[in-house]
Subunit: 410 residues, 4 copies
């Protein structure tokens, strides 16, 4: 590679990307570090100092938290995205958000290269890179953990420690947990290390966003969550009457409350895009509450058949997000479809958070398709029960024919 | 109608079907009551005495509990059936089981008519009747709540009370709850009455199978549930080492344990087959645990793409069960498909039940497709990270083309 | 029924609806006949005279041909609607168009009743009535062929002839074909009578819109059809250079040309909404050409994954149209989705019509996603073949795992 | 690579694989050529002599025609496989059949390598290699057209000619067509060269299996095709009474007849697995007839709802076959599902072949679900038209509610 080519490095401040920073410089690149604030717990000042000290030409720190909530988390809530029935896609949503930032930086800084520290077996490399290729088709990616000269040299963490020591890269002061984790506003994920055995229980000490049920409050918190066109627009604590409406504040506040009640932990085996099964543990407190509340409001305001069609679309959409196709023709298309389904998803859901449980207590909407008069056992409400007989007998015609032919044959 | 035609009446022992029994006799029918034991809490002896006293020619009481577990609940667990993302179909599964019994009775007793007390707006009439028509195409159904001469006469419950009083039909001693409920081994459902307002919370006193979280035990129970071809075959309490394997016992025991921990309550608005939205509350303790455990085991043992295909099939299958198509060509077909997917769903899932939560702690299987060596961050295990680069770039070709054309156009 | 209630009757001028007209008058209704011109071959003046002579209060004749093309046929072409892989839905599309007219008339004329002559086993009753109920929820439908007092009286056509004779209703001068047919701009359908035996071939004399292959021209006609956002906007005969662009003219002209070449006949068994299988024969000359040309243009301009998603939607949409749900929440929704997929479906397809065949000769578009340089065997065009190896090996990881576990087990 | 490693080369006898043979030998491999007879027009003796003369250690020629029909073509007919609504998958079906042969040879000959001449942009490399990896996970693939040392050296065909000349590889005597083609029993495909311009019509001289409509017979041939469990089991010419039943003979005979009538040509743009769009022209005479006849028989014998479910499965299955996943867990699964749907697909379809058209004339089956009595306009046949009214009004409840809420809102 020619000297002095410019690289934007997705920098986290941790050991791996610090080593990559130094390695890239040693390979002759000018490196600009890019660090997005998407709600992770991080000393951004320290990370900046460290990067500059290690030889970065520059470090760009961008606060993407509002962007993350508005343009990634809210669309996911509207769509009701859930991967393989359980995973709320916290990491998957963050990747295209960060990749957008990387591409903006690359264009601004006139850099032809983007580099990241994602491993060669995981989903994140795919999510980062597909987003970069879509948004900036001529960009070139440097993924050190897929380069034999890098991954062979740094096989095992010991080589990394030695490289760090030799290059004045500060080692972490606290001993590393025997697992890896990734945090953003939406969730913290945990995997690898001792979690690689899918039959071994995760230790209680692992969890950072959610309380253990044993220590969570002994009184429920009851919240009213209001949606407009599928977006959360208001969070009200029915006891304190506290109301928050600003998206980032709403989400952060809900994370605190739901986390305190131990809501949103899952331990799953999932299928990665590259075909491997992996075991992951996730904490998604606010996301879990919003997913449940939105699902409940859809049941009230969305027609049955629309719901079925949307359900198929949302499963496809969840797969697309998981696999890194946020910026793709099919995602653009499916997103328009899903948004069309949300026009009437307005209203308020009352939920209780308690001992890890989200329980729906009630729901109301001006667009409710629930007709109490019509469904009541005590009234006819314009509905003639006699019609149901015709409905059933008409449906039975086909069934009778099938069983007639089947019986004749046997 | 000609006199002395024979009717099999789906009899519950309650006020409604007692009145229908007397009304049918008054209309000139010979009535044989049929009462299936599917695990509901019922004094079968009293029900028998009452029916005979009211003029039934005969009462048939059949214990269908094992049949219900083996042929309805287990297939549902294997398939992972859930309606509209939340409802585990407890009532829907019971109806074809009972209808089979009604048809067997009708054939044995040479009766041309089957009668039931289901209302004219609900799903149960459809489930009962479609099953009867499929299994016995020439049968005729008498659904009094759809007959104008009946429902006009008994509009409002007062008329029913008066009819009961006039005909020596015993009235319930305890005042009726301001809602109706339906119970079987799988669940209890609650609807109508005060529950018809979807924004009004259900009172804690409503629940019969599950403890309130406030009073549930302060220690988790950890269970190991073993499946064979998708069927639960063993339930082990890891503390007491109690093991149960017989299906009915296993299910009943799990109901007790999960119910004690408050597991399995939902409060939902759902879409009935007849197009109305209704609000229902359900308690499904054992069903909830088995659904979650089975889902987790599938993630370990089932290929990703098989899972996607099966997921589409199971959603369709859940709709079919909900709408009463248990005995139908499409259900026969889809059931064979789903069962083909279960050949390798063997293994053990460890779950913790605590404060309403089912938490998965670990899982293992001899058919596991999870390859710890392959997925490990510390080893290559035959996987070459370089390939991932080609995988990503090949996927990007299409995306780049799309954005190239899109950008040129703009 | 109270006297002098007003009915809008969907009137065709034929024997059946003439008898219904007289019968409704005899039942005490004021009848306003409604006759839509949707391109069928009809003497509208004669029909008007006949209706008035038989006692109609009024007859409304509306030319809906442009409305039919713009709002029903074009959306169907855009969506690529085809029912059960073969039927292009000619009748299904016409019904909601006519029903809209009926409802408009009912509202304008202050009539509470709408009546039609559709039979009690077919799809058309459903299509008419669901559309009416959606657009005018309080309307009441009189469907004589479902009323026992009507269908019992007129069982067999002889009773109808006698009623006609007794009421001065003119009988058709030409003997009726031994089948029934229904015509509009889009197609003519044939069913019942001798066609009810699905193994009996339809006689060549049946066909009205399409030439027999034996007598069709011995030279192909080559056309260029241009689409804009999925709508046909230009039809050009490449030999004569004749160009038509006005929708109704374009469609009519294409019907003539394609019909002359014998294009668009099918003979199928189909599944009606009410669960019966029926045999139908259809001629859809222009519709067949446009369906094929549009399909081809989509292949050029639509992304592969968007296409898959749209394909699922269009199948659902075709079912909805067939079953009469044109005016429904799910149709509203799915139509928005499909239209979103058509934004780039612009371009020109060259087709040859000859001996019943539509053959695609070529296609071009400014939105083409086909990149000749990229796909060429002779150039790399920015594509690195090495990447394909990684793509394949990455896909193989999952397969190898599956076969490893499967083999170990065996 | 170590000398004298053994390679099984998928050999066609053409220039490309002859050059690859010599190149592999020059690279130090022992090469065993494998040539499958799947119905292509080939001088197998000449191919054998050529391979041995060029230095192959051995050549294996296997007649896979029956295997191809029984295990690949028939399953495809049963499933009704069609890719992107038009392509009958002739090449896609042949690849796993040949790959199986390659793997059998590799195991028998104790070879660790398999090599082929497929290009680096196409689908065939994927189909060959995924099949090989599934069936023989430890095999290694040599794909010269993806190796930079090969494809850089042989960029453009001139270098290949020079290599051939220098190594005594006979050049083709006839000038190469300006396109490439691939033939087997099922079809011939044409692509690249002048066909790369999707707007340029293919010349009539290209076609090898099908007559031009201008020269095809002026009399139709009427055939009766009988299926058993979805498999074609008999082909009868209704004029000559010739009957063939042996699968390979049946298929070959049908190819001749349908080809003579010009049946089965398509010209399409399709989406390759690797994300490129390509233009292909295909001739599939017998496959087209069988596809149409089988589709028609399913309409007669398969329940409507089963059909819908199967339709989704078959689309997925067609994608799998196209993309090379014949040997995969999902294909194994879906194939079982589809086969379960074929249990009753027995019967006979009468088709006319004429001027490129397959027209269905009639169909019959002992498993017919078509009930002529029931559907007849002239009889009730146990069907009460009154029920249809209830059916429609019950369906309208949901629609009325939706429009009520929508109207209130506006």
């Amino acid at each position: 590679m020619s000297k002095n080519e410019r690289v934007i490095l997705a920098y986290s401040g941790g050991l791996d990307t610090s080593c990559i920073l130094v390695w890239l410089i040693q390979e002759g690149y000018d490196v600009i570090c890019y660090l997005a604030n998407i709600g992770q717990n991080e000393d951004f000042g320290a990370a900046e100092a460290k990067a500059m000290c290690l030889g970065a030409k520059k470090i760009i720190i961008e606060d993407l938290r509002e962007n993350f909530i508005d343009d990634y988390v809210w669309p996911s809530i509207r769509a009701g995205l859930i991967y393989e029935d359980r995973y709320l896609l916290g990491t998957s949503l963050a990747r295209p958000c960060i990749a957008s930032g990387l591409v903006r930086a690359a264009i601004r800084e006139n850099a032809n290269f983007i580099s990241h520290g994602a491993t060669g077996k995981g989903n994140d490399q795919v999510r980062f890179e597909l987003a970069c290729y879509s948004l900036h088709p001529t960009v070139q990616i440097i993924a050190p953990w897929r380069l034999p000269e890098f991954f062979s040299r740094f096989a095992g963490r010991q080589a990394l420690f030695e490289f760090a020591a030799a290059n004045n890269i500060p080692l972490p002061v606290t001993p590393k947990n025997p697992w890896s984790c990734d945090a953003n506003l939406m969730h913290i994920s945990y995997e690898s290390g001792i979690l690689e055995n899918p039959d071994q229980e995760a230790p209680e000490t692992l969890y950072q966003m959610t309380s253990a049920l044993e220590t969570s409050p002994n009184d429920p918190t009851v919240l009213e969550i209001t949606f407009d066109k599928g977006n959360p627009v208001s969070l009200k604590n029915t006891k304190t009457n506290e109301v928050v409406t600003e998206p980032l504040t709403l989400f952060t506040r809900l994370n605190e409350i739901a986390g305190r009640h131990g809501v949103g932990r899952i331990d799953i085996v999932e299928n990665r895009f590259l075909g491997l099964k992996s075991r992951g543990i996730y904490e998604t407190p606010a996301g879990t509450v919003l997913y449940q509340a939105h699902l409940d409001l859809e049941a009230l305001t969305m027609d049955r058949e629309v719901r079925k069609i949307k359900q198929n679309l949302q499963q496809k959409m969840a797969d697309l997000v998981y696999c890194g196709f946020w910026f793709s023709p099919e995602f653009d298309f499916i997103r328009q479809c899903v948004d069309a389904s949300q026009k009437c998803v307005d209203g308020t859901v009352r939920v209780s958070l308690f001992k890890g449980q989200v329980r729906i207590l009630g729901r109301r909407s001006q667009n409710s398709l629930y007709n109490q008069e019509l469904v009541s056992m005590d009234e006819h409400g314009g509905y003639d029960p006699v019609d149901a007989g015709g409905f059933i007998r008409a449906h039975a015609v086909r069934l009778k024919e099938y069983y007639r032919v089947k019986t004749e044959k046997e």
